[in-house]
């Protein structure tokens, strides 16, 4: 049982809790594959998507997950809310709670915002991405997809490629994959991988041709265009030449390697279209699995009595 009212990060979860979420998600995957993709489980509950950063896919995925559980959803997006009138973050969250929200799904550009709100609110807080800290449901859906494709996670060689230092997706995945027993490799330019990260049990490679050797899973990260010209890498062309995933590079991995990407992709920069649309890509399955995993999270959090 998940004895928590909030999902703040993978760092805060035990291996048992991660596995419980993944096992529960399998039951929800059945539901979303049917003609009638809806169950009455959480009817009468309300979820509010409180997004202080633009997002289409994560917000839509949470919205669908809630709707498939018969929960009502409100999207509270920043440009139309009183946040622009200067209402404080906590006042906004308290207002949303007073409107009757049982779940507050939050994305914010500052790390730690979900943790702060979780202390102030009775409602369940779900972290949909906070600054450069974590994006736990992305890591859970990635783990679910790997488990579905490979049957296990333990002992797999998994490479995460790209801008590790700014990526909350990478951070949540590193925590989760280490807890689940994978052998994690980080590949990217030295400017984009935190120094001394090897101390937590991952291997760092700056040469992609070495790092990809014999891996079971390649997770590509989106290169954030806004980082260009800030000294992290010389140019997108240069980045692509050294750390872009091409068919030649992918052939260094195991024959049955799977390729993942959290989206949105920069085709032709970190990944070629040939791979993104190829047989080894599980990118669209990640999207589908995201709904099942988010349903599982909402279901399990709602079990905590307060």
């Amino acid at each position: 049982m998940l004895n928590k009212k909030d999902l703040l990060g993978i760092k805060e979860l035990s291996v048992e809790e991660i596995n419980l979420i993944l096992d529960t998600a399998a039951g929800f995957k059945d539901v979303i594959g049917r003609d009638i993709k809806k169950v009455p489980t959480l009817r009468g509950k309300t979820a509010v998507n409180l997004f202080f950063e633009p997002s289409t896919r994560t917000r839509t995925s949470f919205e669908l997950a809630a709707k498939r559980l018969s929960t009502d959803v409100i999207n509270f997006s920043v440009p139309t809310s009183s946040v622009v009138k200067g209402e404080s973050l906590i006042d906004t969250a308290l207002t949303v709670q007073a409107l009757g929200a049982d779940f507050i799904i939050i994305r914010h550009s500052s790390s730690g915002v979900p943790h702060l709100l979780a202390k102030k609110l009775v409602a369940s807080v779900i972290n949909a991405g906070d600054g450069t800290n974590e994006h736990p449901t992305q890591a859970l859906l990635d783990a679910f997809t790997i488990k579905e494709k490979k049957g296990k996670i333990e002992r797999l060689k998994i490479a995460i490629v790209g801008d590790i230092i700014h990526s909350r997706v990478a951070k949540s995945n590193i925590y989760s994959l280490i807890k689940l027993g994978a052998m994690v490799r980080l590949i990217g330019p030295p400017t984009l991988i935190p120094k001394e990260i090897e101390g937590i049990g991952v291997k760092v490679f700056h040469d992609m041709n070495v790092g990809l050797k014999d891996v079971d899973v390649v997770m590509m990260l989106r290169i954030q265009m806004e980082r260009q010209g800030k000294g992290f890498f010389p140019s997108t062309e240069e980045y692509s030449k050294n750390w872009g995933l091409t068919p030649e590079r992918l052939s260094l991995a195991k024959g049955d390697v799977i390729v993942m990407h959290p989206g949105p992709m920069n085709r032709g920069i970190e990944i070629t279209s040939e791979i993104a649309d190829g047989p080894q890509s599980v990118i669209l399955e990640q999207v589908t699995n995201g709904i099942a995993v988010r349903m599982a999270v909402m279901y399990l959090l709602s079990g905590v009595k307060r």
């Binding site: 998940l2 529960t24 039951g27 049917r34 959480l42 079990g303």
Partner: protein
Amino acid sequence: MPKELMNKKDIDRALMRMAHEIIEKNKGTEKLCLVGIQRGGVHLAKRLASKIKQIEKKSIPVGLLDIALYRDDLNIRKEQPVVRRTEVPCEITDLKIILVDDVLFTGRSIRAAMDALMDLGRPACIQLAVLIDRGHRELPIKADYVGKNMPTALSETVQVQLKEEELEDRVILEKK
């Protein structure tokens, strides 16, 4: 001390009789599909299917149904029930579904199971087979095939133990 209501042989005989009754009432095995409720009902559904095959020499599909997402007590339970797989191997629309469970008690699980089934399709009919009917219905539900009727007190619990769960086949009655 727990009291044994049925032993291995009793369970086997009851299931054999139920298999005959199912075939008799449905005039054969055409359009039949057995659906067991997770978890005890699943084992019993598989056993019934193999007995029916023994008698009629015909295989009928067996599905498993998880009712956790359809329960009516999610708001009052201490813990969320474990969500298990639902796997029904065929389109259930127009089939005659025999829902199988181990113990029929308040009828609330069966209500949840019927709602879950209806979301999978529109069966021609739903019939209910249970190994034990212990009474105390809270909903207007009754079984079509019963292994054993066993009047019980609310203070008692009935447990069906099966070898598929690594226990010896038997049904026991215990005081809470």
